[in-house]
Amino acid sequence: MLDVKAGDEQSFTLLLHRYRRPLINFLYRMVRNREQAEDLAQEVFIRVYRAREDYVPSAKFTTWLFRIATNLALNSVRDNRYQRMEISLDAPVTVDAEDGEEKALDVTEQHPNIEQHLVEEGRRKMIRHAIDKLPEKQRAAVLLHKYQELDYGEISKILQCSESALKSLLFRAYETLRVELAPLVAQQARQ
Protein backbone atom coordinates (compact mmCIF):
# COMPACT_ATOMS: atom_id res chain seq x y z
CA MET A 1 0.00 0.00 0.00
CA LEU A 2 2.96 2.30 0.64
CA ASP A 3 4.02 1.76 -2.99
CA VAL A 4 0.50 2.68 -4.10
CA LYS A 5 0.75 5.80 -1.94
CA ALA A 6 4.02 6.65 -3.71
CA GLY A 7 2.10 6.63 -7.01
CA ASP A 8 2.95 3.13 -8.23
CA GLU A 9 -0.12 2.10 -10.24
CA GLN A 10 1.26 -1.41 -10.74
CA SER A 11 1.17 -1.98 -6.99
CA PHE A 12 -2.51 -1.09 -6.93
CA THR A 13 -3.16 -3.79 -9.54
CA LEU A 14 -1.25 -6.28 -7.38
CA LEU A 15 -3.30 -5.23 -4.36
CA LEU A 16 -6.47 -5.70 -6.36
CA HIS A 17 -5.48 -9.19 -7.48
CA ARG A 18 -4.50 -10.23 -3.97
CA TYR A 19 -7.59 -9.04 -2.14
CA ARG A 20 -10.48 -9.07 -4.62
CA ARG A 21 -11.34 -12.75 -4.08
CA PRO A 22 -11.50 -12.74 -0.24
CA LEU A 23 -13.24 -9.37 -0.34
CA ILE A 24 -15.90 -10.45 -2.84
CA ASN A 25 -16.52 -13.66 -0.86
CA PHE A 26 -16.85 -11.75 2.39
CA LEU A 27 -19.25 -9.26 0.81
CA TYR A 28 -21.19 -12.01 -0.94
CA ARG A 29 -21.72 -13.82 2.36
CA MET A 30 -22.79 -10.56 3.92
CA VAL A 31 -25.26 -9.31 1.29
CA ARG A 32 -26.23 -12.64 -0.36
CA ASN A 33 -26.16 -11.21 -3.86
CA ARG A 34 -23.21 -11.74 -6.16
CA GLU A 35 -23.72 -8.68 -8.35
CA GLN A 36 -24.15 -6.44 -5.35
CA ALA A 37 -21.09 -7.99 -3.69
CA GLU A 38 -18.96 -7.13 -6.73
CA ASP A 39 -20.35 -3.59 -6.83
CA LEU A 40 -19.49 -3.15 -3.17
CA ALA A 41 -16.01 -4.63 -3.68
CA GLN A 42 -15.44 -2.09 -6.47
CA GLU A 43 -16.54 0.67 -4.14
CA VAL A 44 -14.10 -0.56 -1.48
CA PHE A 45 -11.17 -0.55 -3.92
CA ILE A 46 -12.10 2.87 -5.28
CA ARG A 47 -12.16 4.25 -1.73
CA VAL A 48 -8.75 2.71 -1.09
CA TYR A 49 -7.46 4.24 -4.33
CA ARG A 50 -8.84 7.68 -3.47
CA ALA A 51 -7.41 7.57 0.02
CA ARG A 52 -3.98 6.28 -1.06
CA GLU A 53 -2.21 9.61 -0.52
CA ASP A 54 -3.58 9.98 2.99
CA TYR A 55 -2.86 6.38 3.97
CA VAL A 56 -1.01 6.08 7.26
CA PRO A 57 0.18 2.56 8.13
CA SER A 58 -1.05 2.78 11.72
CA ALA A 59 -2.92 -0.54 11.39
CA LYS A 60 -2.64 -3.56 9.13
CA PHE A 61 -3.82 -2.97 5.58
CA THR A 62 -6.31 -5.85 5.86
CA THR A 63 -7.86 -4.22 8.92
CA TRP A 64 -8.38 -0.99 7.01
CA LEU A 65 -9.66 -2.81 3.91
CA PHE A 66 -12.17 -4.96 5.78
CA ARG A 67 -13.29 -2.06 7.91
CA ILE A 68 -14.33 -0.18 4.78
CA ALA A 69 -15.92 -3.37 3.40
CA THR A 70 -17.79 -4.14 6.63
CA ASN A 71 -19.20 -0.62 6.90
CA LEU A 72 -20.37 -0.73 3.28
CA ALA A 73 -21.84 -4.21 3.72
CA LEU A 74 -23.69 -3.31 6.92
CA ASN A 75 -25.17 -0.21 5.27
CA SER A 76 -26.15 -2.23 2.22
CA VAL A 77 -27.78 -4.97 4.32
CA ARG A 78 -29.79 -2.34 6.20
CA ASP A 79 -30.83 -0.61 2.96
CA ASN A 80 -31.82 -3.95 1.41
CA ARG A 81 -33.90 -4.83 4.42
CA TYR A 82 -35.96 -1.66 4.02
CA GLN A 83 -36.25 -2.23 0.27
CA ARG A 84 -37.41 -5.81 0.84
CA MET A 85 -39.99 -4.64 3.33
CA GLU A 86 -41.39 -2.33 0.65
CA ILE A 87 -41.25 -4.90 -2.16
CA SER A 88 -42.78 -7.68 -0.06
CA LEU A 89 -46.06 -5.78 0.08
CA ASP A 90 -46.58 -6.63 -3.61
CA ALA A 91 -44.30 -9.52 -4.50
CA PRO A 92 -42.44 -11.47 -1.85
CA VAL A 93 -38.85 -12.30 -2.74
CA THR A 94 -37.51 -15.65 -1.61
CA VAL A 95 -33.90 -16.19 -0.65
CA ASP A 96 -33.51 -18.84 -3.35
CA ALA A 97 -34.66 -16.49 -6.08
CA GLU A 98 -31.73 -14.17 -5.49
CA ASP A 99 -29.16 -16.86 -4.93
CA GLY A 100 -27.26 -16.88 -8.20
CA GLU A 101 -24.52 -19.10 -6.88
CA GLU A 102 -26.93 -21.89 -6.04
CA LYS A 103 -28.44 -21.90 -9.53
CA ALA A 104 -25.04 -21.81 -11.18
CA LEU A 105 -23.96 -24.86 -9.22
CA ASP A 106 -27.08 -26.75 -10.25
CA VAL A 107 -26.41 -26.11 -13.90
CA THR A 108 -22.65 -26.46 -14.06
CA GLU A 109 -21.84 -29.15 -11.55
CA GLN A 110 -21.98 -32.57 -13.13
CA HIS A 111 -22.36 -34.75 -10.04
CA PRO A 112 -22.03 -38.51 -10.47
CA ASN A 113 -24.66 -39.15 -7.82
CA ILE A 114 -27.63 -36.84 -8.03
CA GLU A 115 -28.98 -37.93 -4.66
CA GLN A 116 -25.70 -37.19 -2.92
CA HIS A 117 -25.53 -33.87 -4.74
CA LEU A 118 -29.00 -32.94 -3.49
CA VAL A 119 -28.06 -33.88 0.07
CA GLU A 120 -24.91 -31.76 -0.07
CA GLU A 121 -26.81 -28.87 -1.62
CA GLY A 122 -29.42 -29.13 1.13
CA ARG A 123 -26.69 -28.98 3.78
CA ARG A 124 -25.10 -25.95 2.15
CA LYS A 125 -28.45 -24.19 1.92
CA MET A 126 -29.09 -24.88 5.59
CA ILE A 127 -25.67 -23.51 6.59
CA ARG A 128 -26.17 -20.43 4.42
CA HIS A 129 -29.57 -19.74 5.91
CA ALA A 130 -28.22 -20.20 9.44
CA ILE A 131 -25.52 -17.59 8.72
CA ASP A 132 -28.09 -15.28 7.10
CA LYS A 133 -30.24 -15.42 10.21
CA LEU A 134 -27.46 -14.08 12.42
CA PRO A 135 -27.67 -10.40 13.36
CA GLU A 136 -25.47 -8.38 10.97
CA LYS A 137 -22.66 -7.67 13.40
CA GLN A 138 -22.47 -11.29 14.55
CA ARG A 139 -22.47 -12.40 10.92
CA ALA A 140 -19.61 -10.04 10.09
CA ALA A 141 -17.67 -11.28 13.13
CA VAL A 142 -18.11 -14.94 12.14
CA LEU A 143 -17.14 -14.29 8.51
CA LEU A 144 -14.03 -12.31 9.44
CA HIS A 145 -13.02 -14.87 12.06
CA LYS A 146 -13.77 -18.02 10.14
CA TYR A 147 -13.11 -17.18 6.49
CA GLN A 148 -10.62 -14.31 6.62
CA GLU A 149 -8.81 -15.81 9.60
CA LEU A 150 -8.18 -12.39 11.10
CA ASP A 151 -7.13 -12.29 14.74
CA TYR A 152 -9.33 -10.93 17.52
CA GLY A 153 -7.43 -7.64 17.64
CA GLU A 154 -8.00 -6.95 13.96
CA ILE A 155 -11.68 -7.96 14.01
CA SER A 156 -12.37 -5.82 17.07
CA LYS A 157 -10.83 -2.82 15.27
CA ILE A 158 -12.93 -3.52 12.17
CA LEU A 159 -16.14 -3.84 14.18
CA GLN A 160 -15.12 -1.03 16.53
CA CYS A 161 -15.61 -2.97 19.74
CA SER A 162 -13.41 -4.33 22.52
CA GLU A 163 -11.82 -7.75 22.25
CA SER A 164 -13.90 -9.11 25.10
CA ALA A 165 -17.08 -7.77 23.43
CA LEU A 166 -15.99 -9.49 20.22
CA LYS A 167 -15.41 -12.81 21.98
CA SER A 168 -18.84 -12.55 23.51
CA LEU A 169 -20.31 -11.66 20.08
CA LEU A 170 -18.66 -14.70 18.51
CA PHE A 171 -19.75 -16.98 21.32
CA ARG A 172 -23.39 -15.91 20.88
CA ALA A 173 -23.11 -16.34 17.10
CA TYR A 174 -21.72 -19.87 17.47
CA GLU A 175 -24.41 -20.68 20.00
CA THR A 176 -27.08 -19.61 17.50
CA LEU A 177 -25.42 -21.59 14.71
CA ARG A 178 -25.16 -24.63 16.99
CA VAL A 179 -28.91 -24.49 17.60
CA GLU A 180 -29.88 -23.67 14.00
CA LEU A 181 -27.69 -26.44 12.61
CA ALA A 182 -28.50 -28.93 15.37
CA PRO A 183 -29.22 -31.91 13.06
CA LEU A 184 -26.03 -31.34 11.08
CA VAL A 185 -24.03 -30.66 14.23
CA ALA A 186 -25.20 -33.91 15.81
CA GLN A 187 -24.33 -35.78 12.64
CA GLN A 188 -20.92 -34.11 12.47
CA ALA A 189 -20.19 -34.62 16.17
CA ARG A 190 -20.81 -38.37 15.77
CA GLN A 191 -18.15 -38.64 13.06
Binding site: L16, Q42, Y49, R178, L181, Q188
Partner: protein, 161 residues
Protein backbone atom coordinates in the same frame (compact mmCIF):
# COMPACT_ATOMS: atom_id res chain seq x y z
CA UNK B 1 -12.03 -22.33 35.66
CA UNK B 2 -15.84 -21.96 35.83
CA UNK B 3 -18.15 -22.70 32.87
CA UNK B 4 -19.12 -19.00 32.55
CA UNK B 5 -15.44 -18.02 32.22
CA UNK B 6 -15.10 -20.57 29.45
CA UNK B 7 -17.47 -18.68 27.17
CA UNK B 8 -14.88 -16.18 26.02
CA UNK B 9 -12.26 -18.84 25.44
CA UNK B 10 -14.12 -21.75 23.97
CA UNK B 11 -13.87 -20.55 20.38
CA UNK B 12 -10.17 -19.76 20.73
CA UNK B 13 -9.72 -23.27 22.10
CA UNK B 14 -11.65 -24.80 19.20
CA UNK B 15 -9.63 -23.02 16.51
CA UNK B 16 -6.33 -23.24 18.37
CA UNK B 17 -5.81 -19.53 18.99
CA UNK B 18 -5.33 -19.71 22.76
CA UNK B 19 -2.06 -19.18 24.54
CA UNK B 20 -0.42 -22.34 25.85
CA UNK B 21 -1.31 -21.57 29.48
CA UNK B 22 -4.96 -20.87 28.56
CA UNK B 23 -5.16 -24.02 26.47
CA UNK B 24 -3.91 -26.16 29.33
CA UNK B 25 -6.42 -24.51 31.66
CA UNK B 26 -9.23 -25.24 29.20
CA UNK B 27 -8.19 -28.85 28.75
CA UNK B 28 -8.20 -29.32 32.48
CA UNK B 29 -11.72 -27.90 32.73
CA UNK B 30 -13.09 -29.82 29.75
CA UNK B 31 -11.76 -33.09 31.12
CA UNK B 32 -13.84 -32.65 34.27
CA UNK B 33 -16.97 -30.87 32.89
CA UNK B 34 -19.21 -32.97 30.62
CA UNK B 35 -21.42 -30.02 29.54
CA UNK B 36 -18.45 -27.98 28.38
CA UNK B 37 -16.99 -31.02 26.64
CA UNK B 38 -20.20 -31.41 24.65
CA UNK B 39 -20.20 -27.71 23.80
CA UNK B 40 -16.60 -27.84 22.61
CA UNK B 41 -17.45 -30.76 20.35
CA UNK B 42 -20.50 -28.97 18.96
CA UNK B 43 -18.54 -25.78 18.30
CA UNK B 44 -15.96 -27.90 16.49
CA UNK B 45 -18.76 -29.38 14.40
CA UNK B 46 -20.10 -25.90 13.54
CA UNK B 47 -16.59 -24.88 12.56
CA UNK B 48 -16.30 -27.84 10.19
CA UNK B 49 -19.78 -27.20 8.73
CA UNK B 50 -18.86 -23.61 7.90
CA UNK B 51 -16.05 -24.95 5.71
CA UNK B 52 -18.64 -26.53 3.42
CA UNK B 53 -19.68 -23.21 1.90
CA UNK B 54 -18.18 -22.87 -1.57
CA UNK B 55 -15.88 -20.02 -2.52
CA UNK B 56 -16.98 -17.86 -5.44
CA UNK B 57 -14.63 -16.42 -8.05
CA UNK B 58 -14.74 -12.80 -9.22
CA UNK B 59 -16.55 -12.42 -12.54
CA UNK B 60 -14.53 -11.84 -15.71
CA UNK B 61 -15.89 -8.31 -15.96
CA UNK B 62 -14.76 -7.36 -12.45
CA UNK B 63 -11.18 -6.42 -13.37
CA UNK B 64 -12.23 -4.62 -16.54
CA UNK B 65 -14.80 -2.55 -14.67
CA UNK B 66 -12.36 -1.88 -11.86
CA UNK B 67 -9.61 -0.63 -14.17
CA UNK B 68 -12.10 1.55 -16.04
CA UNK B 69 -13.25 3.10 -12.76
CA UNK B 70 -9.68 3.76 -11.63
CA UNK B 71 -8.83 5.30 -15.02
CA UNK B 72 -11.88 7.57 -14.73
CA UNK B 73 -10.72 8.90 -11.38
CA UNK B 74 -9.58 12.54 -11.60
CA UNK B 75 -5.85 13.06 -11.21
CA UNK B 76 -5.28 14.48 -7.78
CA UNK B 77 -2.74 17.34 -7.77
CA UNK B 78 -0.75 17.95 -4.63
CA UNK B 79 -0.75 21.35 -2.90
CA UNK B 80 2.88 21.87 -3.90
CA UNK B 81 2.04 21.26 -7.54
CA UNK B 82 0.36 24.67 -7.50
CA UNK B 83 3.84 26.22 -7.23
CA UNK B 84 5.39 24.16 -9.98
CA UNK B 85 6.00 26.54 -12.94
CA UNK B 86 4.18 25.59 -16.11
CA UNK B 87 5.93 26.43 -19.44
CA UNK B 88 3.23 28.97 -20.34
CA UNK B 89 3.64 30.83 -17.05
CA UNK B 90 7.43 30.86 -17.41
CA UNK B 91 7.15 32.24 -20.97
CA UNK B 92 4.68 34.95 -19.90
CA UNK B 93 6.91 35.99 -16.98
CA UNK B 94 9.97 36.15 -19.24
CA UNK B 95 8.09 38.32 -21.78
CA UNK B 96 6.92 40.66 -19.03
CA UNK B 97 10.45 40.98 -17.68
CA UNK B 98 11.85 41.77 -21.13
CA UNK B 99 9.13 44.37 -21.75
CA UNK B 100 9.88 46.03 -18.40
CA UNK B 101 13.61 46.18 -19.13
CA UNK B 102 12.96 47.60 -22.61
CA UNK B 103 10.58 50.33 -21.39
CA UNK B 104 13.02 51.19 -18.59
CA UNK B 105 15.92 51.57 -21.02
CA UNK B 106 13.83 53.83 -23.30
CA UNK B 107 12.94 56.33 -20.55
CA UNK B 108 16.53 56.52 -19.40
CA UNK B 109 17.67 57.73 -22.92
CA UNK B 110 15.63 60.97 -22.72
CA UNK B 111 18.03 63.99 -22.81
CA UNK B 112 18.47 65.70 -19.49
CA UNK B 113 17.67 69.44 -19.15
CA UNK B 114 20.41 71.76 -20.33
CA UNK B 115 21.82 74.55 -18.13
CA UNK B 116 20.10 77.26 -20.24
CA UNK B 117 16.71 75.54 -19.76
CA UNK B 118 17.25 75.53 -16.01
CA UNK B 119 18.14 79.27 -16.13
CA UNK B 120 14.94 80.04 -18.06
CA UNK B 121 12.87 78.16 -15.48
CA UNK B 122 14.56 80.02 -12.65
CA UNK B 123 13.88 83.38 -14.35
CA UNK B 124 10.21 82.59 -14.77
CA UNK B 125 9.82 81.08 -11.34
CA UNK B 126 8.35 84.32 -9.92
CA UNK B 127 5.63 84.42 -12.61
CA UNK B 128 4.80 80.77 -12.07
CA UNK B 129 4.48 81.24 -8.32
CA UNK B 130 2.25 84.33 -8.83
CA UNK B 131 0.10 82.40 -11.22
CA UNK B 132 -0.37 79.68 -8.60
CA UNK B 133 -1.43 82.29 -6.02
CA UNK B 134 -3.78 84.19 -8.34
CA UNK B 135 -5.46 81.04 -9.73
CA UNK B 136 -6.44 79.97 -6.19
CA UNK B 137 -7.17 83.51 -4.86
CA UNK B 138 -10.80 83.43 -3.59
CA UNK B 139 -11.63 87.21 -3.59
CA UNK B 140 -10.98 87.33 -7.33
CA UNK B 141 -13.78 84.84 -7.94
CA UNK B 142 -16.25 87.12 -6.08
CA UNK B 143 -15.61 90.20 -8.33
CA UNK B 144 -18.68 91.57 -10.31
CA UNK B 145 -18.83 90.72 -13.99
CA UNK B 146 -16.80 92.98 -16.28
CA UNK B 147 -18.54 96.26 -17.39
CA UNK B 148 -19.97 96.44 -20.94
CA UNK B 149 -18.49 98.85 -23.55
CA UNK B 150 -21.78 101.01 -23.81
CA UNK B 151 -21.91 101.55 -20.13
CA UNK B 152 -18.34 102.71 -20.24
CA UNK B 153 -19.09 105.46 -22.88
CA UNK B 154 -22.13 106.69 -20.84
CA UNK B 155 -20.13 107.18 -17.78
CA UNK B 156 -17.43 109.09 -19.67
CA UNK B 157 -20.05 111.54 -21.19
CA UNK B 158 -21.64 112.14 -17.76
CA UNK B 159 -18.29 113.04 -16.40
CA UNK B 160 -17.74 115.61 -19.21
CA UNK B 161 -21.11 117.23 -18.47
Amino acid sequence: MSCSRMENKILGYVDGRLKESERLEMEKHVSTCAACRVRVNEFRAVNVLLDELPVIEPSAAFDIRMHARVAAEPVKQSWWAWFAPSPRVVLAAAMLLLATVWVGSRTSTVDPLSASDIDKINQNMQVLENYDVISDFAPLSELPPPVQADDASDTSSNQTM
